[in-house]
Amino acid sequence: EDKVVQSPLSLVVHEGDTVTLNCSYEVTNFRSLLWYKQEKKAPTFLFMLTSSGIEKKSGRLSSILDKKELFSILNITATQTGDSAIYLCALYGGSQGNLIFGKGTKLSVKP
């Protein structure tokens, strides 16, 4: 069965800290891994990763994929209170076309 496991489930840090969020997976026929940020209702797209070892970066956020060890990390440097959200990891894989989501990591950034 395809699955996506995120850790930790929740995390509390202070402004300025650096955080690393983890996503491990088991999937047949891996195609790509995506990260989303969910603040209220709608998840907002962050990154899509298809190749191992190539870092994707956007401002203070970056992500990398390891297809050999079957995981990805999302790094946030110099965290701000506006980074507080649930971060979701999702996969395209298997024989169907839908995204398979993990349960998310709830990040709280304290002033």
Binding site: S32, A42, P43, L88, L99, F101, G104
Partner: protein
Amino acid sequence: GAGVSQSPSNKVTEKGKDVELRCDPISGHTALYWYRQSLGQGLEFLIYFQGNSAPDKSGLPSDRFSAERTGGSVSTLTIQRTQQEDSAVYLCASSLALRTEAFFGQGTRLTVV
């Protein structure tokens, strides 16, 4: 349109009534997905469309749930004889093609009383 548009944004309905939720994807996007998210839970896959066809209906929780997509654009998710356990946020996403970046709408918060 500029983004995925869902309507209504909030819906309160009485148990036993039927509801229709609408999703208008980004123009030109061929793939469309429906998910639901109950309070404090992860995203539960319901159904996806490639064009007008739905290759995978396995995520629909019961035969009270149905979805259609016409003209390769707007999709409606219909829930018949709503139950309290149907209360959730229903999220729609679209992507240019299957297995490309998917973008979500703002969701419909459904409350069954």
